[in-house]
Symmetry: C2
Subunit: 487 residues, 2 copies
């Protein structure tokens, strides 16, 4: 943004609620436009007047929407586009000022970006993307038509082209994929005064510059210098004498989740990225880290329901492909459990009431195991579980389960007695429930720990395995005990 | 940290993995110490030599642990303390240098802080807390003995005491509870040169100062000035001419989750907090926001398993109180579902195989509803659901469910035929499954939306209601259809 723009444009107070209101008003306008179009199309074909009215009204509506959009931050525009179904989204996208195109494309979620790019012609795309930095271009490149990428990268400098290639080469969940190249670097033997002069010559500092990076002659990172230290420090000091006492450096191949943990723990705003020779190659900022934290937590919530990221307006076919596999998997495990239970058909046909009790045994085992599993996955993610405390943890979980199980099974036994009027049935219920809760706890501890031991994500798939075990074994234990003691 | 310390202490490269290694080594030492103690206690009582050996070894172990701790950042020390059981935690806490006491107390999770404070005497507590800022003291105050708070606040200035009282007065999940008072404020009519001179007179800037706040004569916020603009701007410019073009301001009573969303959307590092007259009263920084985001996501994961935050080393009694209510609630809903099913005892005793199939119908209904519910809760949290798109969403979810249901129910019907060899049973299975999936979808859409409409957290308790409905109605629909068509 140039100096003139700053002075001419009034200050904008940001507020996500304004964006939400703008969304509702845009939906209103689109709805009115739809009503007019419907009306016009009900007229006889070729009624020129009606067509004329429609186009006048449409222009009016478009300028209404444009006015709403013009007041908004690109991130708010991205929010609005994400909240509209595809056709309306593409219509509104045409009305977004071209100066925001690049920013909005960077801001929107992956699943929306595709539909926006689809609605742009080659020329618009080149115009929007030729202003991007190498790391930003690398983020968009997979979604852009290859000829646009080829065209745009012609405008890059040699250095930037090398950065683009580097940034595109890192795996998705690595630090390399979220780093940028907007670093201010200074040599350790300069004075603060010289650094200040150097900064003043730049037109603006990169976003989120809270510190500048200090390197030696070979470009190896020596430490960092915070802007606030630079501002309050003695101008005659050498950079090397006022380095920040602590610094964190990342490697491009570190996992982004680990980097996020480090940012959280040490309250960082930015961190340098160095290669294996210690040379400064990039920088990670808190805004990327916040996205990583949010995305990881949403991914977890979705994967627990067996889904991946899904556009609420994605075509039904896409949603089917997203959701069906999980339901099918659950159908298979439920069928297996049912098959296990059906092996006790004789027992159940003698004492029908067992059929109604067995699902309680299975369900509570699953719930109890899920509590243990949630605890363990969390402790693993925090790095709290070490060789030393595993057994202590396991003993603790078992104790808790037995105690909760004993109390709970008294309630369950009472219920069993109420609907069966048989004390032996109640006792079998009690024993089976405690046993199945222990099954749940065992799975809840073992599965995540084994997965973590073998370098896998401890959460993934654990819950299916848990339900599978507590359902099948729950039926087996309950009906097995009943067969032994009640027939 | 004073200038001398910076120069004498070597640069410290932060790395969470080092902390993890230190944890393992500290556990090793504690383990060895335990072995020695056990050995000594097996000797006859009054064996002085053994006691002597023990205390020598203990001193050696203590200095080993001290050496490990001295190298660590307070946040790493907090991590280690959080990862130890209570007695060991308190023992290690005694070995932490007193200069870190305050920082560590601020860093640790709530459930650990209590046990650390318990292990400190009054004098240590006063020493540790008298250096704190008002907002930090407000965070610790609920856990501190009242006489310590009374003692420490005597040392505060009038202003700070007012801030302390203000900070303690805001509700837990509000912006007021996470704001601090470490702001740099300047008047709009000063020049950049004067601002730089003013900053240089401060010994250091507050953490996370990426911008300073511009106020008028009455202390009302006029805008913000970023440090980087200050560094590159013309020294003769007035502050009011180089204000940042966009700014976000918060109110102390805004919810912290909303503030976090705003930080994420606009990529902020800090934001001013103003009262209802527009006067600047505080500041929120990204480090607090990151904590809010992480805590909200963990709270969600825990509450889905019916738990609250739990220390992995909390006493068993506390864990019981945390977990039992959820299991009891689930026992009640499962028992109700079983009771519903037991009303069809006649039907089941005629066709026993129904007993094994009914849990499949219930389970898949729950899984399918859970997918819908996850989508809806997420869309609600993002503010994407408005009056305009509700029906579109509902129609979409219903279509998806019917389509997935039809495919899936063919598989289920096949399984039903395999274990029953009866086509009517297979057909009833198919119909019941599709119906129950629609029940799941309806609950999955309605419950979160109604809760949100009435201003409640859409996620809370929704999953219990969902399971309850899909279990009870699943049994009812399946056995009901069977009673109508198969007897």
């Amino acid at each position: 943004m140039t100096q003139e723009e700053i002075i001419t444009r009034p200050l904008r107070r940001l507020d996500p609620e304004d964006a939400q209101e703008a969304l509702t008003r845009i939906q209103d306008v689109l709805h009115r436009q739809q009503l007019v179009s419907d009306l016009v199309h009900r007229q006889e074909a070729g009624d020129e007047r009606a067509g004329l009215v429609e186009s006048v009204v449409q222009r009016q509506h478009e300028s209404e929407i444009k006015a709403l959009l013009d007041d908004l931050h690109p991130a708010d525009i991205a929010f609005i586009l994400e909240s509209l179904p595809k056709t309306e989204r593409q219509a509104v996208w045409q009305l977004v000022g071209t100066e925001h195109d690049a920013d909005v494309l960077l801001e929107v979620d992956d699943w929306v970006r595709e539909s926006l790019i689809e609605a742009m012609d080659r020329q618009d795309l080149v115009a929007a993307t030729e202003t991007l930095d190498a790391d930003e271009l690398a983020d968009l490149a997979p979604d852009l038509p290859p000829d646009v990428v080829a065209e745009v990268q012609k405008g890059l400098t040699e250095d930037e082209r090398a950065q683009l290639i580097e940034a595109m080469g890192y795996p998705e969940d690595s630090v390399g994929a979220i780093m940028d190249f907007d670093m201010v670097r200074v040599r350790e033997d300069t004075t603060l005064k010289a650094v200040l002069r150097y900064l003043r010559r730049m037109r603006e500092l990169p976003d989120h510059t809270d510190q500048i990076f200090v390197v030696d002659r070979q470009g190896r990172l020596q430490g960092t210098l915070s802007l606030s230290r630079l501002l309050v420090g003695d101008l005659k000091s050498k950079v090397q004498d006022v380095l920040s006492p602590d610094y964190l450096s990342l490697s491009p191949l570190d996992s982004d989740a680990d980097a996020a943990r480090a940012f959280e723990r040490y309250d960082l705003v930015s961190a340098p990225v160095v290669d294996d020779q210690g040379r400064l190659v990039g920088r990670v900022t808190i805004s990327e880290v916040v996205d990583v934290i949010r995305e990881d937590s949403e991914e977890q919530a979705l994967s627990r329901a067996g889904m991946q990221e899904e556009d609420i307006f994605a075509p039904v076919g896409m949603a089917l492909r997203n959701r069906a596999p999980w339901l099918f998997l659950n159908l298979c495990t439920a069928a297996t459990a049912a098959f296990v239970a059906s092996q006790f058909e004789d027992t159940v046909s003698h004492i029908v009431v067992l059929a109604f009790l067995m699902s309680i045994v299975a369900g509570i085992g699953g719930n109890s195991g899920n509590q243990t599993m949630t605890m363990i996955i969390r402790a693993l993610a925090m790095g709290r579980i070490t060789g030393h405390n595993v057994w202590q943890l396991v003993k603790r979980e078992m104790t808790i389960t037995v105690l909760v199980g004993l109390c709970g099974s008294v309630g369950a036994a009472l219920f069993a007695w109420l609907i069966s009027r048989s004390i032996p049935v109640a006792l079998v219920m009690m024993a089976a429930m405690v046993c199945n809760m222990l099954v749940g706890t065992t799975i809840g501890v073992l599965v995540p720990m084994l997965r973590a031991r073998f370098g896998k994500d401890p959460a993934m798939g654990s819950s299916v395995l848990l339900t599978f075990a507590t359902d099948s074994l729950g039926f087996f234990i309950f009906l097995g005990l009943a067969t032994l003691f009640l027939l």
